[in-house]
């Protein structure tokens, strides 16, 4: 697939933003500036960035408990996202949602979710709404390998296939749900086969390769948009950090981690673009520096932002 400079820079920039954002959150957690937990997306950048890059601004996504990457890729404002994770008034959800509930409905991001599988139903419903309102939008529904063991996954895929809904289910298979490997949690290891029961097209893609994700999801999104054909794309990928800050990662080996880190989606894509003459080295280093500055700015903004006022406790409950 031909990639021009503008696209290459956009994909690279978003992946760098996500990586640096997550590294920064880890640092803020360690310094107790960020409280609570955060599930970090580092390592998985190519999935969110590749999949969302084929969407129109008015298309919808639903996200997961590991939602920072999706939010950034769906045109999220770094400052408002960072402030939200700290629980500040200037956060994208006024500090009420936090990391687990990052959302920006105005940008088509129907939100992260604290419940594994919790957004698969609403993604399917958004696709129904699109079809009923005849708006030609598409929904991309992100979830993890672990979520494919929830009942709502099967219930929703059945409805989408039955009613021909414009939704692409993107399973981020990072091979573990918390500490439990796919092998120990799922009777079938090839998760794409879970769509067979509904005669739904499905495929597996290299989730460490942003262009491969872009190509596969791009095709599926067009089928959804033009033919109301739902599908399942399984993107094989890896989460670099532990599930949470305190996770000693005893359930996986350091060799396995090394294997995946050698396939890091960011440097691999950058060097490929340089090799192909799309980008030059200097552009990559400049971009990295530019992203570093914007993450620093966002961090400062979030830290300096005020807390919500006490009255906010009772606002926003009912429309």
């Amino acid at each position: 697939m031909a990639v021009d400079k503008q696209l290459a820079l956009k994909l690279l920039k978003q992946m760098m933003e996500i990586r640096q954002f997550e590294d920064k959150i880890m640092e803020l957690l360690a310094r107790n500036i960020a409280e609570g937990g955060s599930h970090l997306y580092a390592g998985m950048e190519a999935v969110a960035v590749g999949a969302i890059s084929v969407l129109r601004p008015d298309d919808y996504i639903t996200s997961t408990h590991r939602g920072h990457g999706h939010a950034i890729a769906k045109d999220g404002d770094l400052k408002a996202l960072m402030a939200e994770i700290l629980g500040k008034k200037t956060g994208v959800c006024k500090g009420k949602g936090g990391s687990l509930h990052l959302a920006d409905v105005s940008k088509g991001n129907l939100g992260a979710n604290g419940v594994v599988g919790g957004s698969i139903g609403m993604a399917t419903g958004a696709a129904l709404s699109v079809k009923m309102r005849k708006t030609n939008q598409v929904v991309v529904c992100f979830f993890g390998d672990g979520a494919t063991n929830q009942g709502i996954f099967y219930e929703s895929l059945n409805i989408a296939a039955l009613w021909k809904l414009p939704v692409v289910y993107v399973c981020e298979n990072n091979f573990y749900g918390m500490s439990v490997s796919v092998k120990r949690a799922s009777a079938v290891e090839d998760l794409s086969r879970k769509a067979l029961a509904f005669d739904m097209p499905a495929e597996t893609v290299n989730g460490m390769d942003v262009l491969a994700v872009r190509e596969a999801v791009g095709r599926r999104v067009e089928e959804a948009r033009n033919q109301f054909q739902p599908s399942l794309v399984v993107a094989n990928t890896y989460r670099y950090y532990g599930h949470s800050r305190s996770d000693p990662r005893v359930y996986r080996t350091r060799e396995e981690e090394k294997f995946w880190k050698e396939r890091d989606p960011i440097p691999n894509f950058a060097s490929r673009m340089i090799e192909q003459g799309v980008l030059i080295e200097q552009e990559v280093t400049e971009l990295e520096e530019q992203v570093r500055q914007s993450i620093e700015e966002a961090t400062r903004y979030a830290i300096d932002s005020p807390w919500p006022e006490p009255e906010e406790l009772y606002t926003d409950l009912y429309a």
């Binding site: 687990l100 672990g146 749900g177 406790l313």
Partner: protein, 324 residues
């Protein structure tokens, strides 16, 4: 007596029951290799293996359903639902199946099933990881609901829950796991359905449970300096509720504050207050007062989260109001 943490007390209870009864087994998300999200099942998998300590898929409804089926047919499962916020995914199995099946079948079967879970706010995890949903569960006849506040109670009550021939939902509190307290080396049980007076007092009774027991004791210590004598009743079990202990305390102090972390509307405190009306109205010198969680989803922001649940200072304030 030695002091151990709430977490370790629970771990010991599980270990001892696994040793004692070969039909006991543990199943839940991340309970085996990881040792539980909050470390309660640590090292049990190393000792007992997959056969008796099972990691499950993320399938809450089936976790309870499978536990129920095993319980009905000769096993004594202890299943874990990682957060009480995910109990709703399994609520059909708990409410329609586990809690009712013995009654529906004319008493011809038993369900020795323990469902461990944890709840409560305090870690700024937001609306899906901070709830207190116990009042939903006490609305289910056929279930028992246990909510210990101290390591001692946690251990004795978990052992009783496992040995009970009825489905028990055993609700821990995420902010208590590191709290320490005396726990004897030798075996003991604490009966389900018995409240405990955690502090004797004359002027006012605080009725509470789980983490709010600790906050209420702090408030009682503060008020003692002002010459107010506060009795703190720790319910320990919410269903069945120990009305006798509640009434005895009301007879003594004639004034009641209920402190609960769950949302006020339709909450556990409403049930406690109404029981007092039914059983001890004539004893009251002042209206029963409730201090409860705010009627909102738990906000993430640390400043809002603190406001959403009672704290020792507001408990003191509420006690002063009851005394006026």
């Amino acid at each position: 007596m030695r002091e151990i943490s709430y977490r370790q007390a629970l771990n010991e209870a599980l270990n001892e029951e696994l040793v004692r009864d070969q039909t006991v087994f543990i199943a839940g998300e991340d309970v085996a290799i990881y040792g539980g999200a909050y470390g309660v099942t640590a090292d049990l998998w190393k000792k007992y293996g997959d056969e008796r300590v099972k990691d499950t898929p993320i399938s809450e409804s089936a976790i309870v359903g499978v536990g129920l089926g095993a319980a009905l047919t000769g096993m004594r499962p202890v299943v874990e639902i990682m957060y009480i916020d995910f109990i709703p995914l399994a609520l059909e199995q708990i409410n329609n199946q586990a809690a009712k099946i013995r009654y529906m079948f004319g008493g011809k079967c038993t369900v020795p099933l323990t469902i461990r879970t944890e709840g409560g706010a305090g870690r700024t995890l937001g609306a899906h990881h901070s709830q207190s949903l116990e009042s939903w569960l006490i609305h289910i006849p056929g279930l028992k609901v246990v909510m210990p506040a101290t390591p001692y109670d946690a251990k004795g009550l978990l052992k009783s829950s496992i040995r009970d021939n009825n489905p028990v939902v055993f609700i821990e509190h995420k902010m208590l796991y590191n709290s320490k307290g005396p726990v004897p080396e030798e075996e003991y049980l604490i009966p389900i359905g018995q409240a405990d007076i955690k502090r004797q007092g004359r002027d006012v009774t605080v009725i509470t449970y789980s983490r709010m027991v600790l906050f209420s004791l702090q408030a009682a210590a503060t008020l003692e300096k002002e010459g107010v004598s506060v009795e703190v009743v720790d319910l320990r079990t919410l269903l069945p509720m120990d009305i006798d202990t509640i009434v005895a305390s009301v007879r003594k102090t004639h004034r009641v504050l209920i402190v609960e972390e769950d949302c006020k509307t339709g909450g556990t405190g409403a049930e406690i207050g109404m029981l007092i009306m039914e059983h001890a109205f004539d004893e009251l010198d002042a209206p029963v007062k409730r201090l409860a969680g705010a009627d909102v989803p738990m906000p993430k922001s640390p400043v809002l989260e603190k406001l959403a649940i009672p704290d020792p200072e507001r408990i003191c304030q509420a006690i002063r109001e009851v005394l006026q």
